[in-house]
């Protein structure tokens, strides 16, 4: 790891003021990705702004018909929140499947969403639940937030403060894990709100998380695993790597979508 200067502001506002002043500074959330990346010298910021003491970025609350989660809320706290379990159990379920217990104690929802790893879990929940990413500057709909591999709509120095999730009538997440890293080879989040079904796929797309329109249309017509009968998913545009080729991922998308719908209906 290259040397850097270290800052630890107490609020989100102080953090964004700092990032505007300090050259080449990066925000440090849980550090579950940034620190390993810095150790490999793939990232070398000259300053880190540690958000771990920014109390105003933590916590979970109900606001109208939305569950609003502070960006610095740890995966463990989302997984065990009574409010999340009651209102969006699928989201608590997803958080309980990230990494391993020690990683869940440290990793944060804001860090995961800002990083937009193509195999991360949270981006699929944001997209399928039609979440709004709230930054220090604006509100960004999930559909406009996830731009590409590790790329988001965030501008230089812009900070995710919280994420607002509309409460669905039914939702579930299913993932086929890489047995070593626990990342999704394919993860599918399905959500039904009103008459509309939304589906988001992580781990599979060469451009990161995406919504499979045909599957959404089929599930909007009939929210049941049988609604997917006769459908298949094209392998074009999906990832091929040592863990799985594009054809296998295409197959897994259908299997995980069926399982997720069945799980959503069983709740």
């Amino acid at each position: 790891m290259y040397a850097f200067t270290y800052h630890r502001p107490e609020t989100a506002r102080k953090a964004t003021n700092l990032v505007a002043k300090v050259e080449d500074a990066k925000f440090l959330a849980g550090g579950m990705t940034l620190l390993p990346t810095m150790k490999q010298r793939l990232a070398a910021p000259t300053a880190l702004i540690d958000l771990s003491t920014a109390e105003d970025m933590r916590g979970i609350e109900l606001k109208g018909r939305n569950v609003v989660i502070g960006a610095m809320t740890r995966h463990f706290d989302v997984a065990n929140s009574a409010l999340v379990k009651e209102k969006i159990p699928a989201l608590a379920d997803l958080a309980s499947m990230i990494g391993d217990p020690a990683v869940r104690h440290r990793g944060t929802i804001g860090g995961s969403v800002a990083n937009n790893d193509p195999a991360a879990d949270y981006p699929s929940a944001c997209l399928a639940l039609n979440a709004t990413i709230i930054t220090n500057k604006r509100k960004i709909p999930a559909d406009e937030f996830f731009v590409g591999l590790f790329e988001t709509a965030l501008e230089e120095g812009e900070l995710i403060v919280k994420i607002s999730f509309p409460i669905p009538s039914k939702a579930a997440y299913e993932k086929f894990r890489n047995p070593a890293s626990r990342y999704a080879i394919v993860g599918v989040f399905v959500a039904k709100k009103g008459s509309e079904a939304r589906v988001a796929v992580t781990g599979a797309g060469s451009g990161g998380v995406f919504r499979p329109n045909r599957l959404e249309a089929a599930l909007t017509a009939k929210f049941h695993p049988k609604g997917l009968d006769g459908l298949s998913f094209p392998a074009e545009g999906l990832n091929t790597d040592i863990h799985a080729d594009a054809e296998y991922r295409a197959h897994l998308i259908m299997v995980m979508t069926r399982r997720a719908v069945a799980k959503a209906l069983a709740k």
């Binding site: 270290y6 630890r8 440090l28 391993d100 217990p101 020690a102």
Partner: protein, 164 residues
């Protein structure tokens, strides 16, 4: 150099450190608590698991400076008055180790697991909870047995993890 202070195994400690110092480096190189191991250095293997403010953490993937004021317990902090912690005792009795390299992390993860899940975990739960800890010798079978046994002993005996 920035200064960091924390409580490690019940003792107040502090040091002037380079800002890039990881918690595991602070523990091993500054405090000479070499029971916490570095296996993979990429937060996969769990050999470096310690407890920070009561929960398990991979000490190779957290900056020491981030833990200003924190309460840290390492494997050295488990045994009290020369008597092994019930989980350590269970690993010894059940032959839950061969080379022993992963053992400190396994035991710290196991104690954290019992603190969260209670003494009556079934085998599937233990195996699932252990997914962040890798052992290259034993095939996990005796580790799982040791944790089930240690969990029972922790449930019965008064908790020896007094440093928390």
């Amino acid at each position: 150099m920035p200064k960091v202070s924390m409580v490690v195994n019940g003792k107040k400690v502090s040091g002037d450190i380079d800002s890039r110092t990881l918690l595991v480096q602070f523990l091993r190189e500054e405090l000479r608590l070499t029971g916490t191991h570095v296996g993979c250095d990429t937060s996969q293997c769990g050999c470096c698991v310690v407890h920070v403010n009561g929960s398990s953490l991979k000490s190779c993937t957290v900056l020491a400076l981030s833990l200003e004021g924190a309460n840290v317990v390492t494997i050295e902090g488990l045994a009290q008055d020369g008597k092994l912690h019930p989980m350590q005792e269970a690993f010894r009795e059940n032959h839950g180790l061969q080379c022993g390299f992963c053992t400190p992390g396994m035991i710290m993860a196991a104690v954290d697991m019992v603190n969260r899940k209670g003494p009556d975990m079934d085998e599937a739960t233990i195996r699932h909870e252990l997914e962040g800890n890798i052992c290259r010798c034993t095939g996990y079978h005796n580790i799982v047995k040791a944790i089930a046994d240690g969990a029972q002993k922790m449930g019965v005996a008064p908790q020896a993890a007094a440093a928390e």
